[in-house]
Symmetry: C2
Subunit: 343 residues, 2 copies
């Protein structure tokens, strides 16, 4: 109907009988131009609905103004809320966001990074998959000069800005809360053991038990993958021994839901037979049966902060003297799943 072809600087130049250079200068805001010419050009540009071609700009400036994001699963409340935070900051600073999902697979994470770097992204924000134990693909980003910010599941081995929550404290508080409610046989269901968040949450859990002189029992600590089978197996295993737990600290939202599901199948009531605390900030928590007590992570803020740090890295001329790890605060949202109704 209209112009299939977008208007370019050349079109404006032609119409005004000026050179493209002059038009570019007028639009860019360089100083070496007569104020009158500039006004004229800007007016015509507006009139012709000119908008600069970002692709040409990218080619010239070797910047794509695109940020890559890799998360395990976009259709997961933690991830989508974080992404919302990332997007808000990114867009306000003129960046666009391209999202990849690792589906908790190391393989997919590596491929995603390759695709993303071949797209010439300006920087990457990621939380590693449940399988990731080798960080060469992240190290490679370094080699290519692509800034990186990690959040949630970070790792020691990579030196860069990171955004995490106080996992240790969160798990500690959750466990103490259960103890205070009178539960004494508290189990812990976690994801892959080599992940930083797993280790920190595990430490918080253990320390809470110790500080209350409760034993830390190895077979009350189980790790699982992300398939339904694995969670089911792990949870059932907890109840096979002679001494059954009376409460569970689940280290992620998915695991908490998994626990609810399996406990229900096993006809164990929450919290009467087994109490439960998860890590989650799902707004649906309070509408669950039972409503779910959870260590709440400030997901949106985590996303925002990650994006801010990344853009800082992208736009600073020199690499920072030292990398920061921002630790956000969690809060324990107490609902019914952890209440001792028999007390």
């Amino acid at each position: 109907m209209d112009d299939q072809h977008s208007v370019t600087i050349k079109d404006i130049a032609q119409r005004l009988k000026l050179s493209p250079s002059t038009v570019s200068r007028a639009l860019r805001g360089g100083t070496e131009i007569r104020e009158e010419t500039r006004r004229l050009i800007q007016e015509v540009a507006r009139e012709m609905h000119y908008s600069p071609n970002p692709i040409a700009l990218s080619l010239k400036e070797k910047k794509s103004k695109i940020i890559g994001v890799i998360v395990p699963e976009i259709a997961n409340n933690f991830c989508s809320a974080t992404i919302a935070g990332i997007e808000e900051v990114a867009y306000s600073r003129g960046y666009h966001v391209i999202i990849f999902q690792s589906h908790e697979l190391y393989e997919r994470e590596v491929t995603s990074i390759q695709l993303l770097t071949s797209r010439r992204i300006d920087g990457l924000i990621l939380t590693i998959s449940n399988e990731t134990r080798n960080y060469d693909h992240l190290q490679a980003l370094r080699g290519k000069g692509i800034p990186l910010v990690m959040f949630d599941r970070v790792c020691e081995e990579i030196k860069t800005h990171k955004v995490v929550v106080n996992d240790y404290q969160g798990a500690f508080d959750a466990t103490c809360h259960l103890i205070r409610e009178g539960f004494t046989r508290i189990a812990h269901v976690a994801i892959a053991p080599y992940l930083s968040i797993t280790q920190n949450r595990l430490k918080g859990y253990e320390e809470a038990l110790r500080s209350h002189h409760l034993p830390v029992k190895k077979n009350w600590i189980v790790h699982c993958d992300f398939d339904a089978m694995s969670i089911e197996k792990a949870v059932r295993q907890l109840f096979e021994g002679s001494e059954r737990p009376d409460a569970i600290v689940a280290s992620t939202e998915r695991l908490a839901i998994g626990c609810i599901k399996v406990l229900r199948e096993m006809k164990l009531r929450i919290p009467m037979d087994v109490a439960l605390v998860g890590f989650s900030d799902n707004p649906l928590n309070k509408f669950m049966a039972p409503s779910l007590t959870a260590v709440q992570q400030p997901t949106f803020d985590i996303g925002q902060k990650s994006a801010e740090l990344l853009i800082e890295l992208i736009e600073s001329k020199t690499p920072p003297k030292n990398y920061r790890t921002i630790e956000m605060k969690t809060t324990l949202d107490i609902q019914d799943s952890s209440r001792n109704l028999t007390g």
Copy 2:
């Protein structure tokens, strides 16, 4: 550390003492090249970790290989699941996806489209905001030759491929189910009245009542915006009249959750005092208190189909003779929130 600068076709040419043209041809798979030269070039390219610069390609071919997506809110199960479907198809066909959120605001929808078109996206997939009643911004896409696919909240006025579910049938089935359970005073809580999905679901609801010789009462049909206040007001309003409903059909997931929240505040029990059916495919539905009966939409498939149709439009040389509207099937997932326990 390594090469800050990515290797280009020129680098390969230099090393092989060939011209960039030849290298390009070898890599692109043109026929006019000696098999031996090609093999050599490809080998060196691999060795040097060459990957074509998509930005240069975009500039040349006037294609960005980027698809824009606009949804109300990414941190919403319906949206994120649909996006997951879109991404899967997009990536498998070499496209990347840039997401914008309208936050249910017409204003933001318009701005997003502007930003997206200035990004030179190859096509757009969107579901309109709750506020959108004017479609000039979508029509403008036409003018610019940017293909469009609408899903979920579509509109008659724009002629293009669309992906919807059988909203009429879904609401009809949901309402019939309630009637079969013995509920007779069934209300309907919906979003903006001018949206296609609102109208179709409303029709299904009304027709179900009529076909069972139940009256359609105007004050049992309420529409709300997306803020919590609006939902609260709408639901409370339902119970102000002399004749109170004994069941509600909520036309989206958000509204269903909103109903649960407000009914709880009003100390009305679900389903004993008021039964509830929503539209939702949230995997948490069955873990809610009470578990939520819902018309399930095949979200992932909707996303996949939308992306397929869009890419078809993008890659076909000629505009299609006629636009299609794909209607997906919903299924009614019956849980506790709609059971008549008093019967």
